[in-house]
Amino acid sequence: MIGYVARRLVDLVFVLLGVSVLVFLMVRFIPGDAVEIMLGANTDITPDRVAALRHGLGLDLPIHVQYWNWLTGVLHGDLGTSIWTGRPVADEILARAPATLEITLLALALALVLALPLGVVSARARGSAGDLVVRLLSIVGLTLPTFWVGVLMLLVFSLYLPGWPAIGYVPFATQPLGNLARMALPVVAVSLPMIAGLTRILRSSLLEVLGSDYVRTARSKGLAERPVLYKHALRNALIPVVTVIGVQLGYLLSGVVVIEQVFAIPGIGRLIIGAINQRNYPLIQGIVLVITAVFVVVNLLVDLAYAWIDPRVEYE
């Protein structure tokens, strides 16, 4: 087990290295470098001044040298400095992380709280009116774009609940209630596709398990339906659900990028959109690195969760 985790962590290093090379190259292939974007449509700047700015940012160095400088910095724990604000990239990310983390975790919690019972109900009452409703709603939830749902909720709230503080962000520490009120709409918007996806996966996985031999055995030896479902079937049905949660967390992050834009929340999503528009290379690289690491670690945790759900799973 420990050896397995160690090996996965070594993999993580290689994934991060690969992603860093890709992102490093990709941001430099986008037309227009940081200096040109910084100067915008301003044509009165002399070429000398442009060259000086570029030199100051180290953008005149050969690309492999730039990468090496950046990489050695990262290995020393220094993600670099944001080109526009002059603040350390790590500080920028840390300042924005709470909002994004909060939305993501709340959305995940909401998805679990709703998807588990819905999936179970739907599978148990297969073919019933309730099952039909759940299946229809889950299709709707999967299809509606997060962006659209967010804007729609905002409009509905502004018309019927104008007193609700729907826009912006206040930290939980300073205003717990204000924070939760503002988080409600974005959390619902980003969790909808996840609720729908998890419900469908759980339903089909549970149906499959309920049709298997050992469930028939359990039933035929006279076990009541409740213990059959919750003690025997559900546990086995959860394995694919957990896998999907790991993958969906990645999608959740992309939904958060959009939703932060709609609700004017200063999170990681807004930060990376701004960084890309401004060609803020160190910031883009830093954010992508952090997101990649989070994604890989979450998937590692998902793999480890298998053993907890199903003791037969072993890691070699």
Partner: protein
Amino acid sequence: MRTRIGLALVTLVAAFSLAYAQKGTLEVAVDQAPVGLDPDIVTAFSSFAVVNEIYEGLVGVNAQLQIEPALATSWTVSPDGLSYTFELRQGVKFHNGREMTSADVVYSFDRIMDPKTGSPQASRFNEVAKAEATGPYQVTFTLKEPFAPFLSNLTNLFVVPKEVVEANGDLQKVAVGTGPFELDQVVPDTYVLLKANPDYYRPGEPKLAAIKFNVVPEASTRAAGLRTGTYQLLPTVDPVTAETLKKTSGVTVLGTQDLAYSLLGLNTSRKPFDDPRVREAINYAVDRSEIVQAVYLGNAVPGGPISPALKDWAVPTSDFPCYTPSVAKAKQLLADAGYPNGFSTTIITFGTIKEVADTAQVLQAQLARVGIDAKVDVEEFGKFVQDWKNSNFDMFVSLNGGSVDPDGYLYRTFITGGSTNVFKFSDPSVDQLLKQGRTTPDTAQRQAIYDNLQKQLACTGPIVHIAYGTLFTALRDNVQGFQQMPTRGLTYLRETSLP
């Protein structure tokens, strides 16, 4: 005893008027966070919105686009038009409490002109030989040659305190000016908070205790926030949102003529746009009223090289024959130029301003009617700016900013080698008129020169001028005293009050 009562009264009145004068925080929603705060370095409009509340120049411009006194109370111009002497307002304090004097004006001018500052404002003052402190409250600017737009350019010379610049390297993150509001707090990508300058020299201003510029990237979110009262002022609103907000109770929508214009730019260094007949043909092919209706929902006016908002300068479009659309004339001109079957080309544009991208679509259809097959390429904004700057286009659709002086509209854009002449346009007679226009002090003579220039440029110039839109501002009904500016400036926030 009497004096004592008098003194007490004065104190009471002063205390009362101060308490009365400054109250409330105005919640403003803007689309973008300011990109730096140094008035001599920034170029982004989002920065100027904030900077304009903090800093001031010797002169300012009012809602009628007239030059008015600001840090200077009066000025005199020598008969030869080469020397401008300004009398400064006395007792004006920077936000750090130090008094502003003539030395600060000279320092601010020198800072803009210093190549190390890299100020985009520098080119506005190329005609100035020097600025001197001719007294503690008097500054004299000496010009190399008479320069008519000098006063209107001077509105861009913000007076900054030397010691703050030297302590911080630049003014991108700190802000100390003389303006009605001072910087209180910046939370990146969230808000900028300004608070009233208690020592401001205009009596009874500012009336607000604070202004909060909330950064809200989504237009629909800003509109929803205005409806609920979360925000009280949206400085810019697109025409479609303006229409819906007009029907909302508790909300007022203001409109004024924009100085900026939408345009179809032509690269005159590339065939076939090097031929004036082709440029004229395109003008005949374009139906500006159709664009005004389809893209701006009627909230714009077709215009020539100068905004109709500059009433003393703009030539009415009825004087431009090519502004009456005619497919027949366009085809005839194309045939004369050797393109009887039209030609294929590409229009580049960008998607961040809806009216711009929409205009490109309508233009594509209009050009097709005369046989010009134009592919529309909607580029990411950063790439567009680069292609624009490097003249890497056949045609482009964009929005050009305006000016309160005709020279600002025409000189940089049309003079051979001009800094925004990305069209590579060069016409000796235009060059000569542009130079005359800026060196002629007499207004009537200047008007004649610019009338002539507009007629020359309207139909065969490198720009097909399309339309000057209406600028919309939306505010809650309880916001009093705000006035819109055609420049998009928020100067009148200092007169704005909340109940």
